[in-house]
């Protein structure tokens, strides 16, 4: 029967090529659509991956009256360090790191400085970006970002004055100025806290204790990110008396909790597609495919009516015909499926050359808008290679869909052939 099935497909290849093409198209469309959808979802996590974190906590505060000395941006108001132990106790939290990010308006230039603990995930991440020199060995040493160093002609081991305090450049790092809370200068947390505590301008704007921080990175279990985020919101945003608003519309005194989902709707690309659209497209594709296959089958019945009559006349039972037709359909499905997977792999490879743009909210990478000639330049758009990849799980939907449609098509075909009386078909030939 296999011999007959193969001969049938080879001898009428033009007719079956259409079926195989249609099956391949289903596989290609479903795999490509789901891969793209997954890729854009994964892309929304990329800004967080760059800091090895899944949740970011910041507090919204006041805008300083003037821009002198060390300041905090209105999206990075001081947070009490005691909060860390509360966050660590939440179910699903694996690690918590924190830092203090300041704007420093010195006479010669503006700079952003970030104080960190070098042993936590944030510190470790920055550590990997140091390409020359070493980590700060004392509170008087700093790491300077490469671009900032070039623009300000800063060299290794050079003395640099920041907010009136003298530092020595221990190393140079190569970080992206577009990453979340990117900075021009990195150092130990303590000297940055001292700098903030001693800044009159900052203390006039916010109350800053010596151990305060202003950004918290929470690494939660993948499956618990939404739960932890919700619990944090309940824990931190329980003050209903807040009224004032920051220039970006946040309530002063409230906490902003960012997760990768915060970015999902911000991915600026025509390829950004939601689950619902993917589902809708998949249904449309499957209905289309079912119609084409059923039409092809109806054609098969008309075209091969005489053949089925001959087969029945020489002793094929309906079960034998079912075997024969199933074999023919399975061969088409197998060929179409493999061609589809192969072409999908090629398409995915080609698409992996695309990039995806993610808008980093200003609050996550604040920069004084008045320092830019074009205020919109402070809006950070980070571009990443599209993280598209082939996942074997993506084969399940197209394979199941095609098998179900084929099964239904065979049943329909058999129902019609079952009613076929050999004599009725053959006597009028």
């Amino acid at each position: 029967m296999l011999r007959y099935a193969i001969k049938e497909l080879v001898k009428r290849k033009k007719k079956y090529a259409l079926n195989i093409l249609v099956i391949s198209l289903v596989v290609i469309l479903l795999i490509t659509l789901t891969s793209l959808n997954t890729a854009y979802k994964d892309a929304s996590k990329l800004p967080f991956e760059s800091i090895h974190s899944s949740i970011i906590v910041q507090k919204n505060g006041n805008v300083a009256e003037n821009t002198t000395g060390a300041l905090v941006s209105c999206s990075l108001a001081p947070i009490k360090k005691d909060l860390i132990s509360n966050i660590k106790s939440l179910d699903g939290v694996q690690e918590v790191s924190y830092g203090l990010s300041l704007w420093v308006f010195d006479e010669d230039n503006f700079k952003r400085i970030l104080g960190v603990n070098w042993d936590d995930s944030l510190g470790r991440k920055i550590k990997t970006k140091i390409y020359v020199g070493s980590l700060p060995q004392s509170d008087e040493e700093i790491i300077v970002e490469k671009t900032f160093a070039q623009e300000n002609n800063i060299k290794l081991n050079q003395k640099v004055i920041i907010s009136g305090k003298k530092f020595i450049v221990a190393g140079l790092s190569e970080t992206s100025g577009k990453d979340i809370v990117s900075s021009d200068v990195y150092t130990n947390l303590k000297p940055v806290q001292d700098m903030a505590y001693n800044s009159k301008n900052l203390q006039d704007t916010e109350t800053f204790d010596k151990s305060d921080i202003n950004i918290i990175f929470v690494d939660a279990k993948q499956t618990k990110v939404a739960d932890v985020s919700e619990e944090l919101d309940t824990l931190l945003n329980n003050d209903n008396s807040l009224t004032g608003k920051t220039p970006t519309g946040q309530k002063i005194g409230s906490y902003s909790i960012y997760t990768p989902e915060s970015f999902e709707n911000q991915i600026s690309s025509i390829f950004n597609i939601s689950d619902k659209i993917v589902l809708l497209l998949s249904i449309v594709i499957l209905i289309g495919i079912a119609l084409i296959l059923f039409k092809s089958i109806a054609h098969t019945i008309t075209e091969r009516k005489k053949e089925f009559g001959i087969m029945k006349a020489v002793g094929f039972t309906n079960k034998d015909l079912k075997k024969q037709l199933t074999l023919e359909v399975l061969i088409q499905v197998t060929i179409g499926f493999f061609i589809g997977v192969l072409i999908s792999l090629i398409i995915i490879f080609v698409l992996s050359g695309l990039t995806v743009s993610v808008n980093i909210p200003w609050e996550l990478n604040p920069y004084p808008h008045f320092l830019e000639s074009d205020p919109s330049a402070v809006n950070t758009v980070q571009t990443y290679p599209l993280p598209i990849q082939f996942n074997p799980h993506q084969l399940i939907l197209p394979l199941l869909s095609i098998l179900i449609i084929s099964f239904l098509a065979i049943q329909l075909l058999l129902k019609k052939i079952g009613r076929l009386k050999p004599m009725e078909v053959l006597k009028y030939e």
Binding site: E307, M423, K427, E429
Partner: protein, 221 residues
């Protein structure tokens, strides 16, 4: 000779016409029987009832001591595969299969080993004079050759009887004669029972017996 087929009070109505009307007869094993009659006399309908391609309305057909009238579609298909070879006027070959494969077609649904199946088909093809046409497809064969393939296909399952419906009807007289000789030799040399529908007297006259039909009934036997 034993009775192979017994027909009792057999009737079949097609639309409003009684194509076969209450007829009874029997066919012995090894007989060469011609069924004759004018167009519309019911000869082809009778042949399709005898071969299990159609079911009767009334009466019964006993084939080798088994009633075939009560069988369902699939049982009838198995009955045909095991007991019957059918030769049609218009050959009815599968266009996508070559000569050997067309001959082997009735064996495709069986569990016979593929090589054994093809060897058997090849031997039968050779026995009906198709030695040089084994790999050819139906559209590459003459009418006579196509009918030889159809006869070989009817022989592949070692049937007890061959039913032939106007086997020479689509052939020229010379080729028709050769096909008739082939059927005669199968009957004489192998003792195969052959029931043949024909309107050609010269063909009917070489048969052991002629059943003449008129308006669905037996006119003369």
């Amino acid at each position: 000779m034993n009775k192979l087929i017994t027909v009792k009070e057999l009737s079949k109505t097609l639309g409003k016409v009684k194509a076969v009307n209450n007829i009874s007869f029997s066919i012995k094993s090894g007989e060469l029987v011609a069924i004759q009659g004018h167009s519309g006399s019911g000869k082809s309908t009778l042949l399709s009832l005898l071969s299990g391609l159609e079911k009767q309305d009334n009466g019964e057909i006993i084939f080798d001591n088994k009633k075939i009238g009560n069988m369902n579609e699939d049982d009838l298909a198995l009955f045909r595969r095991k007991n019957v070879g059918i030769v049609f006027q218009s050959f009815n070959l599968i266009p996508t299969l070559n000569v050997v494969e067309n001959i082997a077609l009735p064996l495709f649904p069986t569990n016979i080993n593929k090589n054994e199946m093809m060897d058997k088909a090849q031997k039968i093809a050779e026995s009906v004079g198709l030695d040089n046409r084994l790999d050819h497809y139906p559209n590459e064969l003459s009418g006579g050759e196509q009918q030889r393939v159809a006869i070989a296909r009817a022989l592949i399952n070692n049937p007890k009887v061959i039913f032939a419906d106007e086997p020479t009807g689509n052939l020229d007289s010379k080729t028709g004669k050769k096909i008739l000789e082939l059927l005669q030799s199968l009957n004489k040399e192998k003792g195969l029972t052959i029931v043949m529908v024909t309107h050609d007297n010269s063909i009917a006259n070489v048969c052991d017996r002629i059943i003449k039909l008129k308006d669905g009934g037996i006119q003369d036997e």
